[in-house]
Chain length 322, copies 2
């Protein structure tokens, strides 16, 4: 409802139903959408007879700051981290459902910018937004649920790594952590690092390629390489051996670390939020494009070894850490 004295151009002045209409107009329809927004629930095609589903919650001040990231950035990031989870199962993302909590003084442009960002990221993989909820909250909260289609394939889980497999990586590491360090120190550049914090670039095409190439296990690196490799080791009951000489330390990451007098390997091994794909393949498999071998799977009590030893640095991110 409008006209209750909220600031012009704010979501409070536009009201719940006006805001929903403005946001929903941003989303394309696709062949997966059998019944789109506007009813009690959406109806989505699941031709495989199974549906892959994941959800993430993003909270202002913890996962993004409105003075660091545009609404479009936040929309793309919220979509990307969920799409990456679907991709990491070897599935094709189909739709997102989005819950949005907004303060009433939030500009309508911010909400529609978020919707545009969600739509833009979805478009990279042929997905769309099919439903959601808008409520009032003190700060911005974005919850995203992504669904996906396995297209007849088995899901690529965390538990299938076999002794003797190679460990391979697709995508970037350390970029988002370096970007967060840059922004946290009050800088806006290097722009490409700040942007890596704002909007991750998951290697979407590599997920399906890995599934088709026979990946035995896969996950997306959201918390940090060593920590996420540990999840894979635990689920598969194996030792993951990582060789840091095989890890790419990209120039912007190396230069920022040098400027801050830090070891860039800390960001590469412990930094999250880039959503690279970590997978294991039989040694005989032809690695799909984009993947580089960074280690191997050995027998033993579940553990991660970095250059032959337990890793002494920060392995990754705990979402409750201060």
């Amino acid at each position: 409802m409008s006209g209750r004295g909220e600031a012009p151009g704010s979501v409070g002045a536009l009201g719940e139903f006006g805001l929903v209409a403005a946001v929903v107009a941003r989303f394309a329809t696709t062949a997966d959408v059998l019944l789109g927004p506007g009813d009690d629930a959406a109806v989505v095609a699941a031709p495989d007879g199974r549906v892959v589903a994941t959800t993430d919650l993003l909270v202002e001040g913890r996962h993004f700051r409105r003075d660091w990231s545009s609404a479009h950035d936040v929309g793309r990031k919220a979509a990307a981290q969920n799409l990456a989870d679907i991709i990491a199962m070897g599935a094709r993302p189909t739709v997102l459902l989005v819950g949005l909590g907004v303060p009433p003084d939030l500009p309508v442009d911010w909400a529609t910018g978020l919707a545009d960002g969600l739509a833009a990221e979805c478009a990279l993989v042929g997905a769309t937004v099919v439903g959601g909820d808008v409520v009032r909250s003190d700060s911005v909260v974005v919850s995203v649920t992504a669904l996906g289609d396995l297209e007849g394939r088995a899901p690529v889980t965390r538990s299938g790594a076999q002794v003797g497999d190679v460990v391979a990586l697709a995508g970037r590491l350390g970029w988002a952590a370096a970007g967060l360090a840059v922004l946290g120190r009050g800088f806006r550049s290097p722009r490409m690092l700040a942007d890596a914090h704002r909007v991750p670039q998951p290697p979407y095409a590599a997920g399906l390629a890995a599934a088709l190439a026979g990946a035995t296990s896969m996950l997306d690196v959201s918390d940090g390489l060593v920590q996420d490799a540990g999840h894979l080791a635990d689920a598969s009951g194996v030792v993951i051996v990582l060789d840091t000489s095989a890890l790419s330390i990209d120039s912007p990451v190396a230069e920022a670390a040098s400027a801050f007098n830090l070891d860039p390997l800390g960001w590469v091994l412990g930094g999250g939020d880039d959503h690279a794909l970590l997978a294991t393949f039989p040694p005989s498999a032809a690695l799909p494009p984009g993947f580089t071998v960074i280690g191997e799977v050995r027998a033993g009590d579940p553990a991660v070894l970095v250059d032959g030893a337990p890793y002494a640095g920060s392995a990754g991110h705990d979402h409750f850490a201060s």
Copy 2:
């Protein structure tokens, strides 16, 4: 991670992964769960080849208060309002995905109580929780996504009401609004009204029954009868005529209204959160158990008429209203 000086028994002291483990242990597995919590995404059966999906966001202070509702209550309510949306499509709820934002000083018992409440409500319809996300936030935020199975039936949407249909209702009206009024005035009783605010009681069995009986349209009354009837009128392009003499004003609702010197019909027509089911049926249909005729569908520009006239009171809830 533990041991960073957070209060003993708090989720901050337990850490993200400990909390996830404690919560996940609460959830049963069902035949619909092909791959449960612990991977990048869950895999859920969708034997129909379509999946019904809906999401809601609940924010502390807006949708619940921790001094009014137990954690178990909040879990049940969060599940119920999403399950009701699936039911209102004529589908069978299969799984929930839950995003949980918690302050680090939140007692672990509160988080596990919430999980128990989610599990208990799911058990009423044979559903379970299959995945989620836990993050840090300043106040408690609960996002729930529910999936459902149409079992080969057409979805019962909001747009199928036909001129000449009867309008019928299953479930309670005005209870949650009366309960909110009671709690808002500082009272804890009548307990059954306060409980109606804390935990809705959607008429779950009536949804499937309505679908099987040939309901032409259906929705769950979450915002208020007149407002939600308006959604049905708009989507179907019809006039919904409501007869208040056919509406039940239950004794506890009537008595609370009398005590506060209010007209109970205001709560019955405008109060949300009871998640009754409003449906239309062909006049020849045998109404399923639980449904009562409360009006009829007429031709005309979309509108709701209450006893022959537009409704002058509050039609329902706007989530941005102060």
